[in-house]
Symmetry: C2
Subunit: 334 residues, 2 copies
């Protein structure tokens, strides 16, 4: 960056502003101080590396920053909680200007406000290889509303919010330089401007007894395996019930990719994958859709562990659930 | 790294172990869940970049990891609190083995245990340019024991724990390849194996009314300015009262550097800089030294803002406090 550390910190403090509400000390001290609300606290973090998790050529800094925040909000949502405070570590490369950092923060602050999160601190260091970020977020949850990944039981049904494949379709559209119009444009927006499912998680918990929940950040197939592994169960997913996003169908058509493959492997969907007792399925699907406007779909059932994770087609033919999804330690793309 | 993401995560989860005490959900879910203890919560984070904040040629991964944790503990100490939980974002370069990541975690876990911190989650991504880390830490503090940077008042005295210059002397000894013996060795250890001043902060708050406190991570002179700026006051520091570490004297002698310059600019000392009412100085110095074994020194007084931060020599001659210290956005050293 072309400015000194202190100017940059001043600029960030100005953008973030003073503490509000239950926050006693915000950005600019050794640590933030706030009153914990609610019975239990949640803590999570996510790291982002330029050209692995985002590209400057695909999105303005504002959208990049917003996604840093939303990714963490999604983790809090998947535990049944509400996010409250965040801290941000940034590694700033030499080719980012102070105005770029301001735009990045504006996007983070905008997303934070949208979800009721206050940014209360951070650290800023020089990076030698592109923009780096790690956002840590705390939240709050009532004891009886916590949902982990580990509670799915045999006989549960497997539900998801939303439709799948749009984010990966958007990424591929950007990578391939598809024309930014119609469903391709919608796919790109889906990738660049994701939404976290706080309201959907709350509506689910209001009406049902979620046994296990996870947010889809690594791909649907991968998260089905995560839920199954952590719960010590198997899962049977019906191929024709997977809600494939129309964006994935269209981009798949253009690029010659099976939309189902996009739907199973697409990372950063930030939809919820949840298991609930079968008896609650109908009213849950109705209630959550009615309250939030987000579609909820029953895609399968929880089975014995020995049955593993399988995909079944309409004729009843079974195959192992494909091993597709995002690998965090894959070599950075260049 | 030579192993896949899942193996690495399994390895980390095994090292970290299950949740304990007030932690309901530890590493391996979307977020950790714990019971907040105490009246107020603290939240902080610190970022670390290889060859800027640490070098593999100077320290084993265990010591590198321990310092990541201790740096955050020091921030919590400086607010008057106790650390409880941490999450860790790692950017792992291709030349780090799974065993290296294990060693790094062993060091983090060892330091965490020493200070009563539980590591409850994290994220791991691939890095293209050396090891990257960001640790976020939460803690707890009673309302009446919070100490910010912003409360120093005219007439306070300025105290520090410990002695200064040792960390920078150690870094310079490592950089210059000095022989690892005697005080040079002590300086290297001071740099590589720092200590956070939780007990000292608590002893200070037990006996005195700290008005403002900060931990010395960017250098004594720089932190004096931070405290003064945040409190809207000036500070008058007596040159001959600054407690210069014997390691700084010895390494200064060998390398031809003024030990006082080392003491004023040395980052990562993790000592406390605090202002208290002058009337409490004597009993505070006695009590904290007696309880913790750490020397406490009165190095100056808080003055009107207009007087700025100055250094005064034994003859009464004044000069502006030197502008030395660690610049986080300085270009990475190679």
């Amino acid at each position: 960056v072309e400015v000194g550390e202190h100017e940059l910190i001043d600029l960030i403090r100005k953008a973030v502003g003073g503490p509000s509400g239950a926050t006693l000390v915000g950005i600019g001290d050794d640590a933030a101080v706030y009153e914990p609300t609610g019975e239990l606290a949640l803590l999570t973090c996510d790291a982002f590396v330029e050209d692995v998790h985002f590209r400057r050529s695909f999105a303005a800094f504002g959208l990049i920053g917003a996604k840093f925040v939303i990714s963490n909000v999604s983790d809090i949502a998947a535990m049944g909680g509400f996010p409250t405070h965040a801290v941000v570590s940034l590694g700033v490369p030499g080719d980012m200007s102070a105005a770029d950092v301001e735009r990045l923060y504006a996007g983070m602050l905008d997303a934070a406000r949208r979800y009721g999160v206050e940014i209360v601190g951070g650290d800023i260091v020089a990076s030698r290889s592109g923009l780096l970020a790690s956002v840590a977020m705390v939240g709050t949850v009532s004891r009886e509303r916590v949902v982990t990944r580990a509670g799915a039981v045999v006989g549960d049904v497997v539900l998801t919010t939303g439709r799948f494949g749009g984010s990966e379709a958007g990424l591929k559209s950007l990578t391939e330089g598809l024309k930014n119009t119609g469903l391709v444009r919608a796919a790109m927006r889906r990738h660049l401007e994701p939404v976290a499912r706080i309201a959907e998680a709350q509506a689910l918990i209001d009406v049902a007894t979620p046994h296990a929940m996870i947010d889809v950040s690594d791909g649907l197939a991968s998260e089905v395996r995560h839920l199954a592994d952590e719960s010590g169960v198997g899962m049977r997913i019906h191929r024709d019930r997977i809600p494939v996003a129309p964006e994935a169908v269209e981009v798949g058509r253009i690029l010659g990719i099976d939309p189902l493959e996009l739907a199973l492997g697409s990372g950063e969907e930030f939809e919820l994958l949840v298991t609930i007792p079968a008896s609650e399925a109908e009213r849950t699907i109705e209630h959550v859709s009615a309250v939030t406007g987000t579609a909820v779909t029953c895609i399968g059932e929880v089975t014995e562990r020995l049955e593993r994770c399988i995909m079944v087609d309409p004729r009843g033919d079974e195959e192992p659930l494909p091993r597709v999804g995002y690998e965090h330690l894959a070599a950075p793309r260049n």
